[in-house]
Amino acid sequence: MKNISLGFILFFLSINIFAQNNGEIHGDFDLNMQSYIEDATINAVAADEVIRNNSFLNIIFTKNNFSAGLRYESYLNALLDYDDDFKGNGIPYRFATYSIEGLEVTAGNFYEQFGSGLIFRSYEEKGLGIDNAMDGIRLKYKLLKGISLKTFIGKSRTYFTYANGIFRGIDGEIDLNETLKLQSKTRYIFGGSFISRYQQRNNPVFELPQNVGLYAGRLNIINGGWNYYGEYAYKINDPVNSIQEDAVNYASGNAFTSSLTFSKRGFGITGEIHRADNMLLLSDRDRIGKAYIMNYIPTLSKPHAYTLLALYPCATQAMGELGVQLDIFYKIKKGSLLGGKYGTKLNLNFSRINGLKGGTSILNDNVNFTPEILSFNEELYYSDINLEVNKKVNKRIRYNFVIANQTYNKDFLEGKTPGEYGVINSTIGVLDLSYKIKKGHTLRMEVQTLIAKQLETASKKEEGDWVMALAEYTISPNWFFTIQDMYNYGNDDESKRLHYININFGFLKGANRFSIGYGKKREGIFCVGGVCKLVPSSNGLNLNITSSF
């Protein structure tokens, strides 16, 4: 890979020299440095290196319909919440692409997603430490007006190497109204996709498929304020490479997602349902871990940004879950009694996710089991009902208020033994208040509280009640200062009634941003879009620099 990277750099330099007058080069840089000291009270460990650092630099050259780019990444050594296989320096991402007469050709690395990702999603999410970029060839072609096709062949990245499986994919989408020049007010967009993974197999006991195929069909109908999206996906048998009869599962997998939205000015409502059964696609069937996951079941619960609302987050279960969500948005008109001078925004959200009846599909020489399609009375994984009120009171004051009740099956979602922690129910309140002191000076304060109870008798006690407060002072456009404290006052174990204090200040100027913080982080689960990672507790100083040109 190093030679290829070097070649790309030379290639870059040469095009840069020849095209200095009419090409453009852009880039962005990110540095995340953290020190780790031991703190026995929160089980935080010291790093042997004292400080650890993650950094990257993206450079992209563009000229007319050609672009090429690379990303240099450095993990010396990776932050503790990253997999330690991210180690060292390298250029794991480099590409060149051009388009001509409707055909776009990409060689090298690229990210790709088919439909909502049920059968394939190659993406990066720095927050989660996930980057499964493809390396290979991708073609996109506009066949006719309204008909577009894309195909690729490649291997997917894991850390600084590539996983075993070779992926071949094709996706087509047709916008019926555009293709048939329909004058209808209703728009129909159909899509279909297919993915195949090749992995050599030599199992002396079981016959394993070397080529595993997945396909999906999707439909989007849009009429005025109405929008329907539905997608169904299927995966053929994809057993693991084992010689234990119980472990080898020849069942196919499937998933669907279906949502209906109606929106008009000041009002929106979305109802959504999804289900997944045995629908995990890995880039190497012999491996486990998030670095090898190549498909994505979109999350069905509201993504929360406030700390205590996200304390017990919902992780999507590609191996089996059934969920529903209802989301209503309403803006109370300005000038009305409740709307006040500026109006009031309300958002009510409900989601509930449970397991499949009897579990995941299983097929082998002894068992042939398929769970019922719709069964809502199964083991609860997660539910969340919350109301958010967002209001600008006057020119100086605005607030956001959230009240929520969440139920979290800790034993299941965190892989504990049933009965260890059981199911946690928490009631959470958040008030986020902004006060503009004078031009350019804003004080923002958050007060959050979480009252938790364990719904059943369990062998271990969960952390109990929390309260959190935050104050942030911003002097725009250059400075911000933040102090926050999370206090686990309701912990059953008095020695664990701890304060997690963090202070942070930052300086922004133009394209550069610097921030320095110090504090304790609690061990917890962090999710983006239903994909989660465990963040270890830590105590130390952090430095973050971002910059772009």
Binding site: F194, S196, P209, G213, N241, I243, Y250, R287, I288
Partner: protein
């Protein structure tokens, strides 16, 4: 022309899909080495595990299944390691109080950085170090097959005498080809059929049978020199003699659990001498790869 190329591409992709129909079990393996040498290539599967690790029994069963397939060429070693999955509960608790951990298990775990990456993980003859040496159970079979194809470099013979407490162990090494390098011999004791608590999926199994559990190392974790010379000739033989006292080794583990291990409670005794075995292996010190391993019962050898 473009459309034709595109259609061909499409066609070739869609044909790449294999649905398998039962019966799924089509073979019984039968990969046992039948060459006429006195020695065959044996393979060590080091299974890093813990009694609180729900997914670990699946890995132990995979090891057993591989052993059933290839027979005595497959030798297992279970190392209970780390403070997450292998720590014992306090003695006041009714279950999971046994401390399976050892000084050497922790040392190897630290060096090969295994439990930090999550358990279960295994090493197959420690191949692919550094980087890809920590293998999920799904990778074990392929790695074993790869190892079975390698040539046999050393032959190992274990002889021992045991009087119920003290044992004299003789390890004899035969070089089967001319080689040069730094080779080390490690000798350890394992115990089979320990009945004790284990998390197994959603079950907490009080009567789980723990097999080939690492009890003690007779050499250091990094072994003794096989030969004093770095040049070894075909046909040369080296003998190493060790004398051990089982009670001393057992007491060492109890003390180590009590005084050194994280949340250790000293509950490391109760060894059954009838189930103790001797396990010896030779590795290449340049890349840690294990070249030969042998296994014999202590009491009945």
């Amino acid at each position: 022309m473009k459309k034709i190329i595109y259609s061909l591409f499409l066609l070739s992709i869609i044909s790449s899909c294999e649905v398998i129909e039962g019966p799924y079990m089509t073979g019984n393996g039968g990969g046992v080495d039948t060459n006429s040498n006195q020695y065959v290539k044996n393979i060590l599967i080091e299974d890093f595990t813990g009694h609180l690790c729900q997914n670990c029994p699946d890995a132990a069963r995979e090891l057993e299944a591989i052993h059933d397939l290839y027979g005595s060429q497959i030798i297992g070693l279970a190392l209970h390691v780390g403070s997450t999955f292998a720590r014992p509960y306090p003695l006041s608790q009714p279950k999971f109080t046994y401390d399976f951990r050892t000084k050497w298990g922790e040392e190897l775990d630290g060096f090969f950085n295994i439990s930090d990456a999550g358990l279960p993980k295994g090493m197959i003859n420690r191949i692919d170090y550094p980087g890809d040496h920590r293998k999920n159970k799904g990778q074990w079979l392929a790695s074993v097959q790869q190892e079975l194809d390698k040539e046999v470099v050393f032959g190992l013979n274990i002889n021992s005498s045991f009087d119920g407490n003290n044992s004299i162990i003789d390890i004899s090494t035969d070089a089967l080809k001319d080689i040069s390098g730094d080779y080390k011999l490690v000798v350890c004791l394992t115990e089979n059929e320990i009945t004790n608590w284990q998390k197994d999926g959603v079950i907490e199994d009080e009567n789980y049978i723990h097999n080939h559990v690492l009890r003690s190392l007779i050499t250091s974790a990094w072994g003794d020199d096989v030969s004093l010379s770095t040049n070894i000739s075909n046909g040369e033989n080296y003998t190493h003699n060790y004398s051990v006292n089982l009670a001393d080794l057992e007491n060492f583990n109890i003390d180590y659990s009590n005084n050194t291990l994280f949340q250790g409670n000293g509950e490391s005794g109760g060894w059954n001498q009838n189930n103790i075995s001797i396990l010896a292996y030779i590795y290449d010190n340049s890349n840690y790869e294990i070249l030969q391993v042998e296994y014999a019962s202590l009491a009945t050898n």
